[in-house]
Amino acid sequence: MEIYFDNSATTKCSQGVMELMQKAFLADYGNPSSLHQKGMEAEHYIRKARGRIAKTLKVQEKELIFTSGGTEADNLAVLGAAMANRRSGMHLITTRIEHPAVAAPMHFLEEQGFEVTWLDVDRQGRISLEQLKESVRSDTILVSVMYVNNEIGTLEPVEEAARIVKEKHPGALFHTDAVQAYGKYQIYPGRMGIDLMTVSGHKIHGPKGVGFLYKKEKTKLAPIVFGGGHQGGMRSGTENVPGIAGLGQAAMEAYEDFSQKQEHLMMLRNHFLQGLEGVTWAHVNGSLNQEEAVCHIVSVSFDNVRSEVLLHALEERGIYVSAGSACSSNKPAVSETLKSIGLGQEHLKSTLRFSFSVYNTLEEVEICIRALKELVPVLARYTRH
């Protein structure tokens, strides 16, 4: 038996995605830049993917830049915006709970002489719109606020944030990392004042190694990858045709039967939260309020149990979850997000993330809860003193 509750780390590829990609790999393998028929066919896959994604966002097809994934799209947004707009100012704003794909290029820019304001978050992980408003200045060129936090699932007030930024300083660009939000919310960046938005393929049952940056028309952005001038010069390199095709398919599927899927995920989450009430020493991080938390992520701290140990104990029963955030390539570093929401020292190393997908079932949630009820008290007995 395998129960996969690590869907924020990555998801299973859908059958439809796999079939389309296989066709792009084996039959229509041309280079979209080639002038001949084979090239045309490959280009067609990309056009189709553009169309499908654009439809979900209600944006123009040309406003999408395909990248090698979420990390590259975030880097392109942050570094590209800074490079293209530095004559208008050297000030950027972001939050303390961003994914490293945003935080690290921000730190790099700090080293290069830019100034970055890091917004605090409350216990639930939400930024303060007041603090944001105070932070925006006439030399602010970019504000980056993630849509949904990947570790605790908190939904940030992105629309309000974008409005505040635009009111105070219309010249500042607004970016959001929507890697954990796309496919879970109806997002219309054009209407929400979002200039740049990051999406990744493998979080929505698409392939790894592909993602995109939405870039609102006329937004000033400099490329970070140079070469043959593909994608209007914004991202050189032969397009990952099978990946992009798969991403397009996954995007389309994500918004098919959208409300049923939402309900299903919400039901799983609610059952899980209810079940946790019966697990000794379990504390849920982030917001319990449905309006403020994404439907597929639950972060839980367990008193007296090291997260790694509980993770492996669950693994022995075929249940796969994450300790903190899985994206930090096996480094047991303390999570910035968990620190920022004021988690105590004892909980920083005892937090697990459970993340669901539409493929999960209520039965799986119940099995997991039963396992936690058994394991947590036993493991807590053997803790390091």
């Binding site: 790694e308 140990v309 492996h312 480094k331 007995r381 053997y382 390091r384």
Partner: protein
């Protein structure tokens, strides 16, 4: 350009009547080391020499790297093999050899000819003199120095003529398999792979035991140990690794015994289990990476306490090494980077804040009495359920 290697071996040359055993073991180890290298090789011995001759095109760099890991080799001499087509042709070949090997001609040299084939029409001294002259004519910048030449040009007249002037240092030691077998307690740390390497260097074949404590240690920690064994196997040859599930024993000790004694008691049981496997596989001793005073469990008192449960000799090749010295070796043999990957092993996970540093054997024994109810069965189960992995130096794809 080189088609062969002449292998120099030091220590094993003086082993009297056992010499052929040493040479055979050396040849076998060379064969193993060259297995993953692109190319076909013939390994032979002739008049107190071991030759590695390439029978096909081969990757020179890879071959040298592999030979540098074979214990017993003191020097690796890349050689050119020439057909005997008269002295004039030999001179030409020698000159083009020197030209290719030494772009900078401001060097001193000496020709050192030897005739294994006495029907060659010139004597060694005559070859030296006449060849020297030709070289001086060809490269006016070169000078002769018969005492300390920078280039010692060896010319050996055998079936073919062997030409070599470079000696690449080998690792020394003795060929693995000439000194019996030992069982290494391998953790995921820096020290134990180095200890294995050091003992293998003395010709000892190695088996290993790893103690795994799921869910307290992860599958990745185990993979790391397999990876480390693989790196050591590049020197020692294949390693038979036993993976022992130690969780129940560890938890039982944790429950019954004082926490500050946990590490010592745990290590005593590890030694017992390791010794069981050692006996089973006819090892002649245990090998650990301990060094006096490095941590609480490696003080003289603690070592005595863990040693007490063993009937076999316990070899501790790092006993007098400082941590930095151990790190230096591990960097040189290529295990360091893997060793420092951050997965917990079972030694660190339950460590008490203040473990005993001077355990009293009587007290330890008394604590162990509290385990008497179940521990025998647990040890038995741990031994019976141990997983065996044969770790080869090169990873075959399955």
């Amino acid at each position: 350009m080189f088609q062969a290697f002449l292998i120099k071996y030091g220590e094993i040359g003086v082993k009297g009547k056992n010499r052929h055993l040493f040479e055979d073991a050396l040849m076998q180890q060379i064969k193993y080391a060259l297995k993953p290298v692109e190319g076909e090789f013939k390994i032979s011995k002739e008049q107190g020499r071991v030759y590695v001759e390439a029978l096909s095109e081969f990757d020179y760099e890879e071959a040298v790297e592999s030979l540098k890991r074979v214990f017993g080799i003191v020097g690796i001499c890349p050689a050119v093999l020439l057909e005997d087509q008269g002295f004039d042709k030999l001179c030409q070949d020698v000159i083009s050899y020197l030209d290719a090997c030494y772009p900078d001609k401001h060097k001193t040299f000496k020709v050192h000819a030897r005739r294994a084939r006495k029907d060659y029409p010139m004597e060694s001294m005559e070859i030296n003199a006449r060849l020297g002259e030709k070289i001086l004519d060809a490269f006016p910048d070169m000078k002769v120095d018969v005492h300390e030449p920078e280039i010692l040009l060896n010319i050996e007249i055998r079936q073919k003529i062997n030409l070599y002037s470079q000696v690449i240092p080998g690792p020394g030691g003795m060929p693995v398999g000439t000194s019996g077998k030992g069982t290494l307690l391998l953790s995921g740390g820096i020290d134990s792979p180095v200890a294995g390497y050091m003992i293998a260097k003395r010709g000892v074949k190695i088996d290993a035991v790893y103690f795994h404590a799921p869910p307290y240690t992860s599958e990745r920690a185990k993979q790391k140990v397999v990876d480390l064994a693989r790196l050591v196997a590049r020197y020692s040859g294949p390693i038979c690794l036993k993976v022992v599930n130690f969780t129940d024993i560890q938890l039982y000790i944790y429950e019954k015994c004082p926490h500050e004694e946990l590490t010592i008691i745990m290590r005593r049981y590890m030694m017992k289990i390791a010794e069981h496997f050692a006996k089973e596989t006819k090892s002649m001793g245990l090998i650990t990476g301990e060094s006096i005073g490095q941590v609480a469990s490696q003080t003289m008192q603690s070592l005595a306490a863990t040693n007490e449960v063993c009937t076999m000799p316990v070899y501790r090749p790092l006993i007098g090494f400082d941590k930095q010295e151990i790190i230096d070796v591990s960097e040189r043999i290529g295990t360091y980077e893997t060793s420092i990957l951050p997965y917990e092993d079972c030694c660190t996970i339950f460590v008490a804040k203040h473990p005993v540093t001077k355990p009293n054997l009587n007290i330890i024994r008394r604590s162990e009495q509290k385990l008497s109810e179940k521990i025998q069965d647990m040890v038995k189960t741990a031994i019976e359920t141990a997983e065996t992995i044969v770790v080869e130096a090169s990873q075959e794809e399955v």
